[in-house]
Symmetry: C2
Subunit: 388 residues, 2 copies
């Protein structure tokens, strides 16, 4: 009997562990009797032959996996080249791995595709199946990827709560920085916070459209005159019309691997140019690791894609990733399908421009329709400040 190995790649999400739980549940259901190994810290563990034996995880552990954010088996950004791929194939052979699962985004699918090719070239028989995962929602072909709906829910729920704070004490402009350096999905998601038309966020700034400082200041001034207190959500990746990130000149971008401090930059701009009190907040990794804002649908689908991947890999499906297809929106229903990995490898799905409003700083009703079922219901709030 061959063994199975699963590896996580890239940044964790709120539900990547739920997919792992789905894999194990399905393997047991199918009566899989090989070992279930996990690569400790992703590609690093693959390369170093450092595996965690998950064959005997308990039901209680499976239940905790469904709810725990982050990655329980570890991930890494360990760079892989031909030498490393060859060593990984050696390790697969050595450990009698017949089934290899990778949970990750574009980069991980690229890595899986390359292992698949290296194995094939050496006639090593290992079925390779990918499980999508991203908070940025930038994986091609699939309707969306697990991890994104929970991060989107976090943004919407957080802005809704912050609006209760800001509308009650309207003394400042609050700028909140959203993750997603090339794709504005999470920035856009914050708009689902609104219960009424004039609720926060009042302004949104996406990486898909060029940022214009003059326009921004005009918009902020207008919101200040209208609301007194209001919320702006800006992507960490906003840039000017030449593609230059808007805060490259700041000392903070000396951290080359991260983008600049957009919330700090914009809040200083507002205070210095307009004399308006402004705070900049940055949830950062809090947004992707928040377990209490797991979207129920996201958890369910994360388990579903894990199960589908286990089923596919046992059937010796090869060089494919599990995708999510939306069957209907009201009521929301989805199913899995298999995509050739080549269609996914390093292809980045940006947010379609049809989801960005003509004024460039809001979303369209189409986007609300698309996202709403994925994040689930948000708690309603109450206010009397506008009461006669």
């Amino acid at each position: 009997m061959k063994n199975l190995l699963i590896s996580h790649g890239g940044a964790p999400t709120a539900v990547i562990n739920a997919s792992l739980a789905g894999v194990i549940i399905e393997l047991r259901k199918e009566g899989f009797d090989g070992k279930i190994f996990a690569a400790r810290f992703g590609s690093k563990g693959l390369y170093n032959e450092d595996f965690i034996d998950l064959t005997n995880v308990t039901d209680k552990e499976l239940d905790l996996l469904k709810k725990t954010s982050g990655t329980a088996i570890g991930s890494s950004r360990f760079p892989l080249g031909d030498k490393e791929y060859e060593k990984i194939v050696d390790n697969l052979v050595k450990n009698n791995i017949g089934y290899l699962l990778f949970t990750g985004g574009n980069g991980s699918m690229d890595g899986l595709g390359k292992i698949y090719k290296h194995a094939k070239a050496r006639n090593v028989d290992v079925a390779c199946v990918g499980i999508p995962k991203t908070i940025d929602n930038d994986i091609a072909v699939t309707d969306h990827a697990p991890g994104f709906p929970s991060a989107a829910r976090y943004m919407a729920a957080t802005i809704r709560d912050c609006w209760q704070d800001v509308r009650g004490l309207p003394i400042h402009c609050v700028i909140i920085e959203a993750m997603g350096r090339n794709a504005g999905w999470l920035t856009a998601s914050s708009a689902l916070a609104r219960e009424e038309t004039n609720d926060a966020p009042q302004l949104l700034y996406f990486p898909e459209v060029a940022f214009d400082e003059e326009e921004f200041l005009k918009d902020v001034k207008r919101c200040y005159d209208t609301y007194g207190g209001f919320i702006v959500v800006a992507s960490e990746g906003i840039h000017d019309k030449n593609g230059t990130p808007i805060c490259t000149s700041k000392e903070s971008t000396s951290r080359s691997s991260y983008f600049g401090e957009v919330a700090v930059y914009l809040s200083e701009l507002v205070t210095n140019k307009l004399g308006i009190k402004c705070r900049g907040e940055k949830p950062g990794i809090i947004a992707r690791s928040c377990s209490y804002e797991q979207s129920p649908i996201d958890r369910k689908e994360a388990i579903m894609v894990g199960k589908a991947a286990a089923k596919a890999v046992l059937k010796e499906k090869n060089g494919v990733m599990v995708g999510i297809k939306r069957i209907s929106n009201k009521p929301y229903r989805s199913k899995t399908f298999l995509v050739p990995i080549e269609e996914v490898m390093l292809t980045e799905a940006k947010m379609p421009l049809k989801y960005i409003a003509k004024n460039n700083h809001d979303i369209t009703p189409e986007f609300v329709d698309w996202l709403k079922p994925l994040i689930g219901e948000l708690p309603k709030g109450i206010t009397f400040v506008n009461k006669k």
Copy 2:
């Protein structure tokens, strides 16, 4: 029959509305048949005679008040002087207000005390009772104040989740900025995130002790060598041994009303001086407005102090604030008592040094014992990364 007026002061919390619900519930129970007014936007509404009539709020609205963060009636930082206090007393007389409740922190209790004195000097008969509220936990005399336990729970739950992220992908030092510019209660609270001794936060920096850059860098280097990825929590108010905030020289402090960007400053320091990848995150107002991390005990006590204030004011108690007294810790039980407002007015309760560990960057077991019952149980997580 005289009417009642309630006003909110200072920054909102996750449970200030729960106290408002408590007030209304108790007034109805006592058969109060005057009008229940709220000052729209706090002292601004008091001064402008801008009141919201809450006499007929529904049970559904009361239920939503218990759960909604922020302030449903609004608050302000409107400055009050003798002229304003006289006008406010005029407005009380004009609207037949016999009962005045203020929910707020030290500043609000100071305001309430002054209204009380101005009214007394003019022989205006108005009973004045304060309801404590703060996220910083800096109100004197009371064991703690509603709002703080929920913000503390937010810090603990958030760091627990972030640790799942960072331990699984240990590629950076993550510095998280905590609110509380003069008191380290919220910074300290993040330590309740730990399930095991070596869990995050690995380092804590309080405003109660002088910050030493050299020591900080040494501690960070040591944690980096031990953990690879780890979490530092630093108060927005950390300062050097001369009392100078550690990032005054930054452009960001041009926003005079807010402290500098401590997380940005420290993360740049780590990257520039040690060459270690570092992210700085700042939940900011997200931490105080988060409704999904309302502590169950905090909500219960917020309602309890609201009820106690209504009961006291109807009994014509005057110039007092409701405090919380801890009766027992295991099981946790508390009750209300009345404190003369003079004992509270503008007196700031710092965190006792007994709660700070000798190394200056951790808390003591005593602090854990004190805080644990207030934040309630946190969800447990699971990890296999250290599994053999």
